[in-house]
């Protein structure tokens, strides 16, 4: 009475495709360049007058120089440290706090869920820019302060996303089955629910990183990003925009850098969620 499998064995995971690998490769290059920036044969990003001011791209300065004669490539690579550290660490903190609250609230429901949800709504209703302006009024921005600010702002949205995903998983039969087998709540949360929401958490977190990187760029225009003259993509774009009509490359190159990283992050998130989503993988 052996019931044979209806379809041919299909144990190979679905391929991620070249789009994913190109994106992941580009992101890896950017991250490696940021880590090993000191080893690269580049002038210091803060050294003034390494070339003539407003020089276009040349062999000596691949991406040209800015209004103070600083090497733009060097500033982009050193500036990427700000964007990457800010993006990844603030979202990591936000995911840890918002994600675990969302998991527990979504699974337990009841008063704990109601309270968390109400607080999340209040935070979401508060304009983030006001918060950042208020904090900046007291002391100059440092990287640590920016990380904490963005981490705080990311908690509520990540909480909402994880909570929603948890609720949709927690009502399914296999969770009840685990309960009937005698599994404890902690075990159900960690072994039944978490693996099933992890992929949506991961893809939202990657999108969150992209949003924070854009956020840093916007803050730079308000003078709220890390204090000048430290390089960051936001600062470079903001500084360069005055010369947009005469020397566009000064803000164009950091914009391209930011754009390509954002695109890579979005594509990775998209392909990952398609790959990890069981229902889609089935098709």
């Amino acid at each position: 009475m052996l019931e044979l499998p209806t379809s041919a064995p299909n144990n190979k995971p679905k391929k991620l495709g070249w789009v994913f690998w190109v994106s992941a490769g580009w992101l890896a290059i950017v991250i490696l360049a940021a880590i090993f920036a000191n080893l690269l044969p580049l002038p210091s990003p803060d050294a003034v007058g390494v070339g003539a001011p407003f020089a276009g791209p040349s062999l000596a300065h691949l991406l040209g120089t800015d209004e103070l004669g600083r090497n733009i490539l060097s500033r982009i690579i050193f500036g990427s440290r700000v964007s990457l550290i800010l993006g990844f660490s603030s979202i990591a903190i936000g995911t840890l706090i918002g994600g675990s609250l969302g998991l527990v609230a979504g699974y337990l429901g009841g008063p704990f869920d109601s309270v968390c949800n109400a607080v999340a709504y209040i935070i979401l209703a508060f304009p983030p820019l006001l918060l950042l302006l208020a904090i900046a009024a007291f002391s100059p921005a440092t990287l640590l302060k920016l990380v904490l600010e963005f981490a705080f702002l990311s908690i509520a949205p990540l909480f909402r996303v994880v909570r929603a995903a948890t609720i949709s998983v927690a009502t399914r039969d296999f969770v009840q089955a685990a309960y009937a087998l005698g599994a404890s709540r902690t075990r159900i949360l960690l072994r039944e629910i978490l693996p099933n929401v992890a992929s949506s958490i991961a893809s939202y977190a990657l999108l969150g990183v992209a949003i924070v990187i854009v956020g840093e760029g916007s803050l730079a225009f308000l003078g709220l990003s890390i204090s000048l003259p430290a390089p960051s993509w936001g600062n470079m774009i903001a500084e360069g925009h005055t010369f947009l009509s005469t020397d566009p490359w000064i803000s164009l190159f950091p914009t391209i850098a930011m754009f390509s990283v954002l695109l890579a992050l979005n594509l990775i998130a998209d392909k990952l969620s398609a790959r990890l989503d069981v229902r889609e993988a089935q098709l």
Partner: protein, 384 residues
């Protein structure tokens, strides 16, 4: 199956349900009366079928017994131990004795876990044996439920068919050697041919493991083929319990009549229990030998399709009533009717039915053994 019990002395009760009430809050003010005071028991090695239309509280009853829903009132006694009101840890231990098979087989398996790990999970929860022993046990069980462990073990649930998934959940339920298996419409999501093989599997497993079963279904033919005894439920209360043979031959409650008659008018199923079993066997052969030409041929040959002799399970006098009964809508469970809950649809209802709730009682004519007594909750029972 049913005659083995009537001759034996009553075995100790595996499950006793006394005055079970389940009310589920809906919004702030509404209260759904899902189950309103039901009593029944299941004997060792017995299969009790629980039938009724959708929304009558069958599933809620099953889930309350398995501890998945908290009853608002009443007692659930498993093998002599009262489970209701026990501290969480104690009741968690007792829950091992009761296992649940869900309606949707694919959704009842964790989509991110390999089949072998799903089946091993119960013993891993309770730390029974070493991982190697667990794996061995799980492999044996997979084989026993008719799956090939070499092909199946490393697969994910979405790579299996519904029938295969249901077999996996049966194997998982057996890991803890339960005493009572609650099957909540275990075959209604499956193809008819697969339904039969799963029912046969449940039958085999029951005999082998000496299990008791609570089999919840709306499908009379399915319930008939597997149950020793049947309980009919309407709007949170039991109407009638009787041995399968008694219920199909001498239904006393008007609602049971309605159920039997609607099954008669809608399908081929109303034949004797024996014939349905032969249908099951035929389906088995179809499933293995699944070339399309064979399937068609076998189906045409089924004796059951042309067998109209048993159509008279419902007395002729009652046939006109069927039309009247079906005119009425099911009342809302938010505000169940007074007295007998069926009175709004019952052709025999009078004042007493509106005012007084009928108790479940044994009919004086009934001469069967105690354990398969024919009980009915009706002021004007039929077939006397």
């Amino acid at each position: 199956m049913s005659d083995t019990l009537s001759s034996a002395t009553p075995a100790p009760e595996v499950l006793e349900v006394r005055g079970l009430h389940v009310e589920i809050a809906q919004g702030f003010h509404k209260l759904v009366h899902a189950v309103s005071g039901i009593d029944f028991s299941i004997h060792r090695k017995e299969t009790l079928g629980l039938v009724g239309e959708s929304g009558c509280g069958k599933t809620t009853t099953g889930k309350a017994i398995a501890g998945l829903i908290k009853p608002t009132q009443g007692d659930i006694i498993i093998s002599g131990t009262k489970v209701t009101g026990l501290p969480a840890k104690e009741s968690r231990k007792l829950r091992r004795k009761v296992q649940f098979i869900f309606q949707d087989p694919i959704s009842s398996l964790n989509p991110r876990r390999k089949i072998i790990n799903t089946v091993m999970e119960p013993s891993s929860i309770w730390s029974i044996g070493t991982p190697d022993e667990q794996r061995k046990h799980a492999t044996n069980l997979l084989e026993q439920v008719g799956l090939d462990p070499r092909l199946i073990s490393d697969r994910m649930p979405y790579q299996l068919s519904g029938g295969q998934c249901q077999r996996v959940s049966i194997a998982r339920a057996l890991m803890l050697s339960p005493e009572l298996l609650i099957c909540d419409e275990p075959v209604s999501a499956l193809d008819v041919s697969v339904q039969a093989t799963i029912l046969n599997l449940l039958n085999d497993i029951q005999e082998q493991y000496q299990l008791s079963m609570l089999f919840i279904s709306h499908d009379l033919a399915v319930v008939r083929s597997i149950s020793d005894r049947i309980a009919v439920m309407y709007m949170g209360r039991l109407c009638e319990t009787a041995s399968t043979v008694d219920l199909f031959n001498h239904a006393m409650h008007p609602y049971t009549h309605e159920l039997l008659s609607s099954a008669a008018s809608s399908s081929i199923y109303l034949s004797s229990t024996g014939t349905y079993r032969s249908l099951l066997k035929d389906c088995n052969t179809i499933n293995i030998d699944d070339t399309p030409s064979n399937v068609g041929k076998q189906n045409d040959d089924l004796p059951i399709m042309t067998d109209h002799d048993e159509d008279s399970a419902i007395p002729d006098t009652d046939k006109k009533l069927i039309e009247q009964v079906q005119l009425h809508e099911v009342p809302s469970a938010l505000k169940p009717p007074s007295g007998c809950r069926f009175h709004t649809r019952c052709p025999y209802a009078d004042d007493i039915c509106v005012s007084t709730q009928p108790e479940m009682r044994r009919h004086p004519v009934d001469t069967s053994e105690k354990c398969s007594a024919h009980l009915v909750a009706c002021h004007h029972p039929l077939n006397i």
